[in-house]
């Protein structure tokens, strides 16, 4: 039986700056039920530039792991419908991106729009609420 070596090869990591933003569909889904699948599906995702995704070997809809100094989450990768600046990723405000936000707040305002992280393809499932809250 041939040995599957792919599982021993670490997927390449890329630097990314994450910027949070709002989304009316996510906001209304989470207002209705913060624990719903819909709230999770609309929150646990990162939107990337199409050319950047190609460069990083990330396909639309696959899971990626985002890791910052403050935490690590698995979310779904989505392609942006428009051209974005290189090196940027966009996430909707919520639990998943908050796992990555720095705790350094010299002016009392967390860096919600300046989150430095690494992105890599992941075979793991999207990180669940229980795991994030460490309950």
């Amino acid at each position: 039986m041939a040995l599957d070596v792919s599982k021993f090869i670490k997927a390449p990591e890329y630097d990314i700056k994450i910027i949070t933003r709002r989304d009316v569909f996510q906001a209304s889904a989470c207002e209705e039920d913060r624990f719903s699948d819909e709230c999770m599906e609309l929150s646990a995702l990162i939107v990337l530039d199409a050319a950047e995704m190609k460069r990083m070997g990330i396909q639309e809809g696959i899971n990626v792991r985002l890791t910052s100094k403050w935490g690590s989450v698995v979310v779904r990768a989505r392609v942006s419908p428009r051209e974005e600046q290189k090196g940027l990723g966009f996430m909707i405000n919520g639990l998943w991106v908050n796992a990555l936000v720095p705790d350094e707040t010299p002016d009392g305002i967390p860096a919600f729009k300046d989150i430095k992280a690494k992105i890599t393809i992941s075979k793991d499932k999207i990180t669940g609420i229980q795991e994030l809250l460490l309950l």
Binding site: K17, I19, R21, R22, D23, V24, F25, A27, S28, A29, C30, E31, E32, D33, R34, F35, S36, W70, G71, S80, R82, E83, E84, Q85, L88, F90, N93, G94, L95, N98, A99, V101, P102, D103, T105, P106, D107, G108, I109, P110, A111, F112, K113, D114, I129, L132, L133, L134, L135
Partner: protein, 416 residues
């Protein structure tokens, strides 16, 4: 079908007062004119909060007594949230903080508080949304994407409607400009007036624009067609009534040199007539700032010390959660969903009281949960719209439970 009730929506700080709601048997049957966020607010959350102590169900009176005991015992309690409460509940919360010698802060601490402070203190000129609808010919969405955050902003006030001085509406009478790091949904309407800036590059772009306004050649540290900045400056100079809608993209980017905002507005107003409106999110976030300012002279991050009220970053919710508070009462907010987890996880380690209509992420770690009526749906009062206009909020239906104001006042009676 029953006759509709005309209702003021508490889905966001636009407080749209033209919503039609049909109620039958004390249940919402149909909603007209509301956006998706407004409808979600009217129909309410799927999982309502239960009255609990140590995650076990108790009578609401027991929960209130336990909350009072926690706050009385604490040496440095924090009262936080308030942006989804009526002004009446906020005033009660401020009184409770005074009684306890506590620290009080709201979501504005990491949102538009910094902008609202400048407006309340008269450093930045502002106007009402009615002024925008009737008069504005140039609207600038800077780091703001109202189509995603305040869905009826453009259709009710800032772009699409006919106004007293703008009878030809968006087709001919209004120019929309969008300055952002991404071509947002709102930017799509800006017809060649979208300006893509670098993340964190707002101050540099603002200075370049001020150069353009003053007739100097704009300078930027990256490759940007300066002719476009000069064209933008020309449009702003010709404006009869211009408005900057400041979003969090702008606020976060220039928070360390926020005086630049008033400098920019002063420069702009040497040539034209511009106002700034903050894109506050929660329906009464601005109300908290006004109410606290009236009582203390500060808009947020206040500690009631022996020497009177003091405001500094030390009293901000994030700093208090990291190093200060030994008990927290959250009213109408879900900090585990909205704050960095590296900070909000500390809520698991300190006594936590949650007053909220809904079961949320913070409910899972609260020592005491006290359910309250939904402000604007089951509880009436007043609120302040994102432009500073005071609005009446009438409840849609009657419920037997307590309002957040009543809960706060009951706690105050027990700790006094």
């Amino acid at each position: 079908m029953t006759e509709p009730i005309t209702w003021t929506c508490t889905g966001c700080a636009l407080l749209c007062e033209d919503i039609q709601v049909y109620i039958k048997d004390n249940r919402v049957e149909k909603v007209e004119h509301a956006c998706l966020k407004g409808k979600a607010r009217v129909y309410g959350c799927k999982h309502t909060a239960m009255s609990t102590v140590d995650q076990g169900e108790v009578d609401v009176n027991n929960a209130i007594s336990q909350a009072a005991k926690i706050l009385e015992k604490a040496k440095n309690p924090l009262l936080y949230g308030w942006s989804n409460s009526t002004s009446e509940a906020q005033v009660a919360g401020i009184e409770l903080a005074q009684t306890l010698g506590a620290c009080i802060d709201s979501t504005s601490s990491f949102c538009q508080g910094i902008t609202i402070n400048e407006i309340i203190n008269g450093n930045v000129p502002s106007c009402t949304l009615e002024d925008v609808r009737e008069k504005a010919d140039v609207v600038v969405y800077w780091g703001a994407d109202p189509m995603s955050s305040h869905p009826r902003h453009l259709s009710r006030y800032s772009y699409f409607p006919r106004g007293e001085l703008r009878q030809r509406g968006y087709e001919e009478d209004r120019t929309a400009i969008c300055i952002d790091v991404t071509q947002s949904r709102t930017a799509k309407i800006s017809k060649g007036m979208f300006f893509s800036i670098l993340p964190g590059g707002d101050a540099e772009f603002m200075r370049a624009l001020m150069d353009g306004l003053a007739g100097r050649v704009p300078k930027l540290s990256y490759d940007f067609d300066v002719k476009r900045i000069l064209e933008l400056a020309a449009v702003l100079k010709k404006a009869e009534f211009g408005v900057i809608f400041a979003g969090l993209g702008l606020v976060y980017s220039i928070k360390e040199e926020f005086d630049l905002i008033s400098e920019f507005m002063n420069t702009l107003n040497r040539f034209s007539n511009f106002f700034l409106i903050p894109m506050a999110g929660h329906f009464n976030m601005r109300g908290f700032n006004h109410n606290l300012h009236e009582e203390t002279g500060y808009i947020h991050r206040v500690g009631f010390t022996k020497n009177g009220p003091v405001s500094s970053v030390e009293y901000s919710v994030v700093e208090q959660l990291k190093h200060g508070a030994d008990a927290v009462m959250v009213v109408g907010s879900d900090p585990l969903a909205s704050l960095p987890l590296s900070i909000s996880r500390r809520l698991k380690d300190i006594p936590l009281i949650l007053v909220d209509p809904c079961s949320n992420l913070t409910t899972r770690v609260a020592d005491v949960t006290i359910p309250c009526g939904v402000s604007g749906i089951e509880v009436g009062g007043t609120a302040i719209r994102l432009d500073g206009k005071k609005m009446d909020i009438s409840p849609l239906m009657q419920v037997d439970g307590l309002s957040d104001e009543m809960i706060v006042r009951r706690i105050m009676e027990e700790v006094s």
